[in-house]
């Protein structure tokens, strides 16, 4: 029988700053700059070693990275576009629900 691999939910075990750096191939400075610009993490205890990243935060890091590399967006603009994508997704879900009802 094939080996079974156990998946762990990120919400059970949120990522640390170091794990995000490795996982998303970014520098510590990049993450700190974006946290200070207010585009990543809503809660930022000190020191940064105490920061914890949820599934949503991780997806947001990847999206902002993509926007910056594709369009040379600055952190604030990439954050704004990521917010708009979140809102778009929320509204699309609402439309889907309304269509089902």
């Amino acid at each position: 029988m094939a080996r079974e691999y156990i998946a762990v939910s990120i919400e059970q075990s949120p990522l640390t700053l170091d794990e995000v750096i490795v996982s998303c191939r970014v520098t510590r400075e990049w993450v700190v700059e974006h946290v200070h610009a207010g585009v990543l993490l809503s809660e930022t205890p000190q020191p940064p070693e105490q920061w914890r990243f949820s599934s949503r935060d991780l997806a947001r890091v990847r999206r902002i990275l993509e926007l910056e590399s594709r369009f040379d967006a600055n952190p604030e603009l990439a954050g704004l576009v990521a917010d708009l994508f979140d809102e778009l997704e929320r509204l699309r879900a609402r439309v889907r629900r309304a269509e089902e009802e």
Binding site: Y5, I6, A7, V22, S55, R70, E100
Partner: protein
Amino acid sequence: MEFKDYYEVLGVKRDATADEIKKSYRKLARKYHPDLSKEPDAEARMKELNEAHAVLSDPEKRAAYDNVGKGFQAGQEFRPPPNWDAGFEFTGGGFSGAEGADFSDFFSELFGGRAGGMGGGMGGRAGRARQSYQARGEDHHAKIELELEDAYRGATRTITLQVPQINDQGRVQVVPRTLDVRIPKGVREGQMIRLSGQGGPGYGGGPAGDLFLEVHFKPHERYRVEERDVYETLPISPWEAALGAQIKAPLPDGTVEVRIPEGSQTGRKLRLRGRGIPGDPPGDLYLVLEVAVPPADTPKARELYERMASELAFNPRKHLGV
């Protein structure tokens, strides 16, 4: 293997400047962005664009590509000659092994073994890098579609991933990899789950990276999910709605007895606390009542409806003033 004309993909001339390439890439990346584009092949086009951009925006890769592709047209059968890249040194990054998994065989054949930036900053041929570097493998990201019931009970799912691997010649090849994954109970839409050590292989004896799976639920004919809460439409008869009743309702994790309050109407929501997606705290399950009207398809049924019409004097449009 078919030759890919990266200039054609980006819609630029062969002598386009770096600025023209960048502008055209951005314009098309906006047009084919998978989250916005209504084009049916947006995702495939975006991958093509990224691949073309990875090559043409890197002066060394572009020079090597121009050299090997002289006289070739898009779609033409192509095989790079031995030592086609002699004299070129690829040092730039610009794409990762994980992204490289999205690129074509054509790209892998040309640049796969020379992916500058692979493995978190390694330069040069992977074979050479193995001797002098030790690095953790890359984390890989993928999506997984589950049934809602899986979130209630947990489940084992077999997934197949396209994984870039370095072959004996030091080149990157994309190969399918299948693994059985135990999904924890309580996962939600959009949540990521992590498989430790199941990402890209380590370099020079370094540990493997992790695999991150983004969870999505398949559309369900009966249930709708919002965060941890689950909504279910529950049909009831007119007499159950009018008089109230104790009825059975099927839930994702079994059946429950619920009391329908007297005088219920379609759209009324009954909340079952803690019966949504499990967790700490668990979500709630909402039964949305829908009054189903029996057909008047027998003389007896017609007689009953006619009696109701004459004896109940019910006007559902009274509040509309008609």
